[in-house]
């Protein structure tokens, strides 16, 4: 029995079959299924990853016993390095999956959130042995810079952030090809949008409340963008003020940036009677209309105003202790290919 398993695992036919099956899965994963679907049906499935693991097990049982019986030459040395890199990559991946952390943190300019609190993240995922205590201190978005330039190259946007605690706090500017690293945690730019400060006044013009409301950037058919409250699937209203036990009404705000002044522009307000979650608002709003930045909009019993425009940004926070193993192994594998190639060239010449 054990012998048969060993025979099966160590056959070159299995190696070939696995390679062909994996290749076929890849082809299906970019033709029949696409994007996210390919992930759920193929690449993230248990069986597909099982195939990859089996490939590595097969390398261990099939390749190494065969090659180690041979004389060490340039050719065989290269092959050993190449196949060894497969094993090391898998090792790195497994190790990483046990200890890693990945989270998406979203901050409005000026906002600070505790790094070690999972509530701070829109989404967070961690390995079984990841120690949350490693995430120390706070994460702050100081400012988002538009049209950031480095050595003349336009980086479009850059986030000025600060992370960590006390003395060891680290501050820096990140953009798409540059991250910031703090104690093994890496901070990557992901996306950004507008957040508008919507202030509530009574009819006497006294300020009652103010809060930042992040807007979605929705691409329109003509290629332009609509910046509005809602979800990524479309515009929608929010309970306003959302952070009070008793919101007053449902509000939808759309923002039109000014073409001339950065962070200027106007807002379009629509106010409905408060609805419970999931309930559709009545067809006709209580009030609707436009107001430029800083101007008052008459919302029935109250006034509303778009007082300030800031940016929100979302950053990926990653901790991947297995990463150096994987990256180094990639070069080892590549080096192996080159060494084998050189070895063969020399043999052919002789």
């Amino acid at each position: 029995m054990i012998r048969n398993i060993y025979k099966f695992l160590s056959s070159v036919k299995l190696a070939m079959a696995l390679l062909v099956v994996i290749l076929s899965c890849c082809v299906v994963g970019v033709t029949i299924y696409r994007g996210v679907e390919a992930g759920t049906h193929i690449f993230s499935t248990f069986w597909f990853n099982g195939l990859l693991v089996m490939l590595v097990v097969n390398v261990c049982f099939c390749f190494f016993p065969r090659i180690l019986n041979r004389k060490l030459t340039l050719i065989s040395l290269g092959m050993i390095l190449f196949h060894l890199s497969f094993v090391a990559i898998l090792g790195g991946i497994v190790f990483n999956s046990l200890f890693h952390f990945a989270g998406l943190i979203r901050l409005t300019e000026g906002e600070t959130l505790p790094s070690g609190d999972l509530q701070s993240y829109d989404f967070a995922e961690q390995g079984r042995f990841f120690d949350i205590g490693k995430l120390r201190g706070d994460t702050t978005l100081i400012k988002m810079h538009v049209g950031h330039r480095v050595d003349g190259a336009d980086k479009k946007v850059a986030y000025e952030i600060s992370v960590g605690e006390g003395e060891a706090k680290k501050q820096g500017i990140i953009f798409i090809t540059k991250h910031l690293e703090y104690r093994g945690f890496r901070y990557f730019c992901d996306r950004e949008g507008y957040a508008v400060l919507i202030v509530l006044y009574d009819k006497m013009g006294r300020e009652l409340y103010g809060g930042y409301y992040p807007l979605q950037s929705l691409r329109q058919e003509d290629g332009s963008y609509l910046y509005t409250t809602g979800t990524k699937d479309g515009p929608g209203s929010i309970a306003y003020p959302y952070d009070r036990p008793q919101p007053l009404f449902s509000l939808q705000v759309a923002y039109r940036p000014s073409k001339i002044s950065e962070r200027g522009g106007e807002a379009f307000f629509q106010v409905w009677p408060l609805t419970h979650e999931g309930e559709r608002p009545e067809a006709k709003p209580l009030a609707e209309g436009k107001a430029a930045l800083g101007e008052m909009f008459d919302a029935g019993d109250y006034y509303l105003s778009l007082k300030e425009v800031r940016y929100w940004t979302a950053m990926f926070v990653r901790y991947d202790p297995g990463l150096p193993i994987v990256l180094a192994s990639l070069w080892v594998g590549f080096g192996g290919m080159v060494i084998t190639f050189i070895g063969r060239m020399r043999r052919m010449r002789n």
Binding site: V30, F43, I176, R186, F188, E192, R219, L323, M337, M345
Partner: protein, 274 residues
């Protein structure tokens, strides 16, 4: 018309001349036409190079990003490798019978897809890895195209005797040459994947995400990995591998420039377009 476009279409024209010389040379068994074909390719290569250079110097932005630019570079590498081989050995004269038609069709197609030069390089592409990546990809393509041409030579020599087939090197030599270029292409594809992984790690913090561009490059690499195993572990030689090299070439062209090519998949998510 801009000088760049003039050069580009002159190159296409000369590659066309080369293509027809090779094909008619083969049909009519006129070896002289192979010489015409070879010098046609060389003559086309000059304006081809100038066209790329002009495009590059116009804005200073590497002109290898859009699909037509990518094909232009891939064919450039293929012709370069082909010419180097031809002028350094002069061994396999009809080799251009496959290389030049493929180059001609691809570059002509690139011409129809040509867009204005980008004035800025997307920030995600402002990375040194892009150089390693595109050199790996285009040199890989050039190598496997030449390898497939040796495969075709092998099949020609095997089928017919006399005339042109007689002047071709031994079957085993052709088989070995094809294998060498496949092995070289495999390394270049390896370089493309490794640099792609480092690039992705620089931008997104993960080296592999199974996104379509990555999977397509894995496909090209695996196809040639399987070739090498068939040869080394299973002892395949000759006709079967010659066919394999030819069919794999089709897969390669599709995987490169067919469905998947779009930089858009590179960075998804909504962002403010400033």
């Amino acid at each position: 018309m801009k000088a760049e476009l003039v050069c580009f279409w002159i190159a296409v024209g000369l590659y066309g001349v080369s293509t027809f010389s090779y094909i008619f040379g083969l049909i009519a068994r006129q070896e002289k036409l192979f010489t015409v074909g070879l010098y046609g390719a060389l003559a086309g290569f000059i304006p081809h190079t100038i066209a790329i250079g002009l495009r590059w110097s116009e804005t200073g932005i590497s002109p290898f990003i859009s699909i037509s630019e990518s094909i232009t570079l891939g064919t450039f590498m293929a012709v370069l490798i082909f010419l180097i081989f031809q002028f350094s050995t002069k061994k396999v004269r009809p080799l251009g019978v496959l290389v030049m038609p493929v180059v001609f069709v691809l570059i002509g197609w690139a011409g129809t897809l040509m867009k204005e030069i980008a004035t800025t390089l997307a920030p995600a592409l402002q990375s040194a890895w892009i150089w390693v990546h595109i050199i790996g990809a285009s040199a890989g393509f050039g190598s496997v195209l030449v390898a497939a041409a040796f495969g075709l030579m092998y099949l020609l020599k095997e089928r017919s005797s006399g005339g042109i087939a007689n002047k071709l090197p031994e079957l085993q030599t052709l088989d070995n040459l094809s294998y060498r270029f496949i092995a070289g292409g495999f390394i270049m594809y390896g370089l493309m994947i490794v640099s792609g992984a480092f690039w992705s790690n620089q931008v997104k913090g993960n080296y592999w995400n199974w996104d379509p561009v990555e999977v397509w490059s894995l496909i090209s690499w695996l196809i040639y990995g399987i070739y090498l195993h068939l040869r080394i572990t299973f002892g395949w030689r000759g006709r079967k591998l010659a066919w394999y090299a030819l069919i794999a070439l089709i897969a390669m062209i599709i995987s490169y420039w067919g469905i998947p090519f779009s930089v858009e998949t590179f960075h998804k998510g909504f962002r403010i377009e400033h």
